[in-house]
């Protein structure tokens, strides 16, 4: 077992001072990239994801389009300067390719793809700063960018991570906890429909700890959902004000 540089949990408090069931500071802004059809920037503490959506738009080459629905394409990528220590090679890693797939499959159940046959919807997410929980911050950002683009959705999909640290189930892993904890479980959740669309896990979890983790993830997602709604409303009011001018 790797030894963390500082204790991860002391008297119920995590290294950054949080309680086990506490999110880091969540900051969300919508409409941050003017050229995109939709965009959002989401930070969970020091982790920041920027998402942009283009589409629905024409699919090239044609033979890759689908006759009955839109093809959704998702790319998750980390900036070379987003990681601590060494520069990350910008070529997409196997990890980034897997996460792109997992994010796509977390978003697809939320989109009415069948309304846009033969077209494509592109979702691009870039991690600008990484301090744990990058894929779930990406999911929230992607989901808000889709909403911002006006793509018809069944619900938002909110991402949060849950982890196992010194035997305790904690919400929203930071980089330190991700590296030295005993388990990691990223979750994507539709708060209104109660559907889990992203679920990964590693480590060693008893059935009970797992059940506890799912409950905590749902609670965390509901909290972030509140922030996400505020951000969408803020964008809406901004537009309304501009129109009113």
């Amino acid at each position: 077992m790797k030894q963390p540089p500082v204790p991860l949990l002391v008297e119920g408090r995590r290294a950054d001072g949080r309680a086990p069931d506490q999110m880091r500071d969540v900051r969300i802004s919508v409409g941050v990239i003017s050229n995109a059809d939709g965009s959002a920037m989401v930070s969970y503490g020091n982790t920041t994801a920027v998402a942009a959506v283009y589409g629905p738009r024409e699919m090239h080459p044609r033979h890759l389009s689908l006759p009955d629905k839109a093809v959704m394409r998702v790319r998750y990528h980390m900036a070379p300067f987003s990681t601590k220590d060494e520069r990350k090679n910008p070529a997409p890693s196997r990890r980034e390719i897997e996460i792109s797939k997992v994010l796509r499959e977390a978003l697809e159940p939320a989109i009415f793809l069948e309304q846009f046959p033969r077209s494509r919807i592109d979702v691009f997410v870039e991690i600008v700063q990484a301090d744990g929980s990058t894929r779930v911050a990406s999911l929230t950002a992607a989901s808000l960018a889709l909403a911002d683009a006006g793509v018809p959705m069944r619900d938002l999909v909110i991402g949060v991570s849950v982890g196992l640290v010194n035997g305790v189930v904690v919400l929203d892993l930071n980089g330190l906890e991700d590296n030295y904890g005993e388990g990691d479980m990223p979750v994507g959740y539709m708060p209104n429909l109660g559907r889990i669309t992203l679920l990964q896990l590693d480590g060693a979890w008893s059935r009970d700890r797992f059940a506890e983790a799912v409950k905590l993830a749902v609670k965390g997602a509901e909290y972030v959902y509140g922030k996400a709604r505020e951000a969408l409303k803020a964008k809406y009011f901004e537009i309304a004000e501009e129109v009113a001018k």
């Binding site: 797939k101 997992v102 499959e105 889990i196 679920l199 990964q200 896990l201 480590g203 797992f210 059940a211």
Partner: protein, 273 residues
Amino acid sequence: MASISPYGKRFISYIRQSQIRRLVGSGVRIDGRTPHQLRDVSIRTNVVNTADGSAEALLGKTRVVAGVKVGLGQPFPDTPDEGVLIVNAEILPHASPYSEIGPPDETAIELARVVDRGIRHSGFVDFKKLAIDQNKVYVLWVDLYVLNDDGNLVDAANLAALAALRSTMLPSAVKDEAGVKLDRNNKTALPSDLSKAPIAVSIGKIDSRIIVDPNLEEELSLDGRITITIAQDSIVSMQKTAGYFTEQELWQAVDLAYSIRDKLRDVLLKSLV
């Protein structure tokens, strides 16, 4: 190079899909199975004599060969006293009309990484015993080769990987002035603990019905799919790959996975006698 998801595409006709879904709703499946029934499973070890370990797993018509090659390398910086595991998957163009030529696509990469995580977190292989000295450790290359894809690649590939590792003979490491070399004329069994074998169980959902071991056509008709990997009493890996699950459905899937795990483990153990 391209990292965007998805690549390629698979089709099923709307009529066939409806039939599959209707059947499951009435408690039977397109190939005659009951919802919680596995297809025929079989595992054979030592199927490739150029490999240091190998096995073939058949799950119905799905067929995966795993080959292990042992090499030498440097440890990862954060685990300086452990050997290295590298899992790679190739879905051969042989495997289905949908398979394409080229470097592993997102499906193959996910397959490799899910199998990798199960092994890594289970304690099945004793990586501590794979360190040779300060800078040199054994590297276990596990190549998962999908020859025929009739669905549920993960469960089959995982069984093949476990059996291949269990059959792996480790060449001895010989040190001289020029450095460390492998001697393949002198081998010992790879240290592994069968009681910790991580078993991957994939569960599908149609409406709110839960099924196990979906075949290819079923995979294209599901509302949700998840792989749950269990070692001893713990869940060591999960991967939701399609659609969604409610909390309720998730508990059902986990409970079912534990019972299917027992069946697959028995097949594995028998194949290794």
